[in-house]
Amino acid sequence: MTDTQNDVEATGWRSDKFIAGLAKRKRSERRFRLTGLLAILTALTLLGILLFSIFSTGYTAFIQTYITLDVTFSESVIDKNGARDPAELRAANYNRLVQDALRKKFPEVTSRGDLRTLFSLVSNDASQTLREMVEKDPGLIGKTVPVRLLAGDDVDMVRKGYIDRESAEEDRRVKNEELVWLDALLKEGAVSTHFNSGFFTNGDSREPEKAGIAGAMVGSFYTLIITMIIAFPIGVMTAIYLEEFAPKNKLNDLIEVNINNLAAVPSIVFGLLGLAIFLNVAHLPRSAPLVGGLTLALMTLPTIIIAARAAIRAVPDSIRQAALGLGASSQQAAFHHILPLSMPGILTGTIIGLSQALGETAPLLMIGMVAFIADVPSTISDPATVMPVQIYLWADSSERAFVEKTSGAIMVLLGFLILMNAFAIVLRKKFERRW
């Protein structure tokens, strides 16, 4: 009987079962909450690892190693006749000067193979540097001056610590003798590192130490300009039409559904469209920013339309009514009042769409913007490449020195993206009106 008494007392929220259950429920509540927080932290950690791995390998791309050598501009090599003829000076063998300088520094190296290795300490860009010096000041001829020359990529990699000196000689690109020479140069203080301005002014190159992103930046710029010229007006006009004028009928429903679906089509399909229409039917030049821009414009169009529609919809109806009440036609209301008021929102959406286009790679591979192009493009129909494709190409290169270049290019690309998005945010903060 006492048992039943206890049962009666223990019902409800005071029962042991309930109290024990409550503790359990509270624990599970805390656990659930923690799981949620952990999910967010995991995502952020992944982002952190991604950025860290890029930045930690990429920052060295902005520094480059140079070797200072005493170069003798001997008349017998570059100007045999002594006539100082500019044409002859341009065609002269400046490589020989570099080789002579290296030979003088390491007179003990004599065998052909060793000499070749020795010469590879200095980039083959060095002769270019010397030629420019002589063309600027022919008075140098006959003198011996210390010149700062671009180091080869192996030296650069050793200097930056990417090549492990301790590993077995067969496993590494840089042989022991090279390390000995390099150490000798280091002891003299002939090796120095400087800001790599060539990274921003050179086009692509097979030699990592000379490769730069100028060509890709210009290509990206042209492509983006074309994208903007095409996608922005068409996008805004479509948005105005759909929001302000379109009567409710089958065609306009079709346009709406179609835009929503286009926004979800994989980007590579747009690449195939570009290939089939712009290259095979219209015969526009391959690899050109013109075609890239057109393809990306079609891809960005839905983004811009959707953003522009949202911005136009946010303008209150009272503005429209007031304009119509004062005798404006519906087009005057749309173009003189609604469009200017929704412009900040439209521009924000456009910039975000363009920043997507700037980071897009796959469709551009399809239209042949993956060729190796060393020159900086000068018009929109020159063969060119863009920054993401340049990153893809360098990431594919086997040479160790291209890894840091890739990361460096990614840093520059991310910089541009941050800049564009920041601009969009500022635009929104400054001009957006809450009605």
């Binding site: 509540e29 999910a39 995502a43 346009i255 590579i268 089939a276 095979n280 399809m366 993206l417």
Partner: protein, 413 residues
């Protein structure tokens, strides 16, 4: 006469027309007693429209004529191009100018003409997006039909062997290449599945935490940070997957004695999942937010804790929407290209083992079309067939997802 001089002459003519038209309208205003709707510059625009529309129309017509494979002698074409066409265009523009200026009087409803033209231009702009879809469908279909003329459909859809190399010589052994795309589909599905295993739990749990637990301040800081993941270009993820994650998994596998290749499906899938996290989380965020507060309040009123409310009330209520979000994420993962191109394998491999290298539909499209192309080879055409499958699958997924999400919205509106 070439294009630019003609254009300059036309623009000069319209400038004169603009000036003359608005002047004539203004001078006549005083004589008119009616209420005048158009503004003076609109009269000028009216004249310009009449001066420019006929030449533009003629130009379009001529372009179309040139594109049609009409056999004409080169000399005739050149003659038309150099003499006949410019003269005709200038005559048309002149006639337009003259007639429109003649017609101008303040009572003419020029605003209507102008707005009619603007309206047509707006419609033309909206049709561009339809033309894009049409272009995609037609170009893919056309090439795919060509492809199926060379390779039987059954081989493509049911074949287990993918090696699209076509031989240099016809009599070479194994020269035909084989186009069984099953390994590509399974590879794509495997990587997508791994990506979803990463993205769905992480994205969903972050969305729940953000909407139900996080303070406004936490949300304001963390949400944009998560969005950064969505803003990073895919080529960067590809580089990360190939260089860091793939190598990391391989080393971990080495240290515990499992053989993991550096192009494993696992690495590509995990990184792809990472990219999709913000996509899932922001979609689920919206969907959880849309669950009415009354459901939450009812649950709290019955004594449920927050986590119980989330698990037993909010998630079941939001389930259709979340399913829609996951479908959208799947469609995005299937169409993703750069991560798999850089981090997944290239050789077709029929396996479900995530530690091995597999290839995907998008990788093969890129592989087939980058480099030398000859447009009739089965190899190039295969890329279009694959793309058509890709397009059809992603489109279907999207349509289903949109319907599901719309149904769900209607339930709580």
């Amino acid at each position: 006469m070439s294009f630019y001089p003609l254009l300059i002459v036309l623009l000069l003519m319209s400038a004169v027309g603009y000036w003359f038209g608005s002047k004539k309208a203004l001078s006549a205003v005083r004589k008119s007693s009616n209420f005048i709707t158009p503004r003076p510059h609109q009269f000028g625009l009216y004249v310009v429209i009449w001066a420019l529309v006929p030449p533009v129309f003629l130009g379009a017509l001529w372009l179309m004529l040139q594109m049609t494979p009409l056999q004409m002698e080169a000399g005739t074409t050149q003659q038309i191009d150099r003499i006949f066409f410019p003269v005709l265009v200038l005559l048309a523009a002149g006639a337009g100018l003259y007639l429109s200026i003649l017609r101008i009087n303040p009572d003419l409803r020029v605003r209507k003409t102008i707005e009619g033209l603007v309206y047509i231009i707006l419609i033309l702009a909206s049709i561009v997006s339809i033309l894009t879809t049409l272009g995609i469908v037609l170009s893919l279909l056309f090439e795919t039909i060509q492809f199926f003329k060379k390779v039987p459909m059954t081989e493509f859809f049911f074949g287990l062997n993918w090696s699209p190399q076509t031989a240099l010589r016809a009599d070479q052994v194994g020269s035909s290449g084989s186009f069984g795309s099953i390994p590509l589909f399974t590879g794509t599905l495997l990587i997508t599945f791994i990506a979803m295993c990463v993205a769905v739990p992480l994205g969903l749990l972050s969305a729940v935490y953000m909407t139900e637990y996080a303070s406004g301040k936490f949300r304001a800081v963390v949400k944009p940070l998560l969005e950064i993941l969505a803003g990073i270009p895919t080529v960067v993820y590809g580089f990360f997957a190939a260089l860091t994650v793939g190598v990391f998994f391989r080393d971990v596998g080495d240290s515990i004695g499992i053989d993991i290749v550096s192009e494993s499906a696992l690495a590509a899938g995990v990184v792809m999942g990472m990219m999709i996290i913000p996509f899932v989380s922001s979609l689920s965020d919206d969907i959880i937010m849309a669950v009415p507060q009354s459901l939450r309040d009812g649950s709290y009123g019955l004594g449920a804790t927050k986590s119980e409310t989330v698990r037993k009330v909010i998630l079941p209520a939001a389930l259709p929407g979340i399913v829609g979000a996951v479908l959208l994420a799947v469609s995005r993962a299937i169409g993703e290209t750069m991560i798999v191109v850089m981090a997944a394998g290239f050789a077709a491999n029929l396996t479900a083992n995530p530690l091995e290298a597999v290839t995907t539909v998008t990788v093969q499209i890129v592989g087939l079309l980058v480099g030398d192309q000859e447009f009739d080879s089965a190899k190039t055409l295969a890329a279009f067939a694959l793309a058509l499958v890709l397009f059809a699958v992603t489109l279907t997924l999207n349509v289903i997802a949109l319907i599901v999400v719309r149904k769900y919205r209607e339930k709580y509106d």
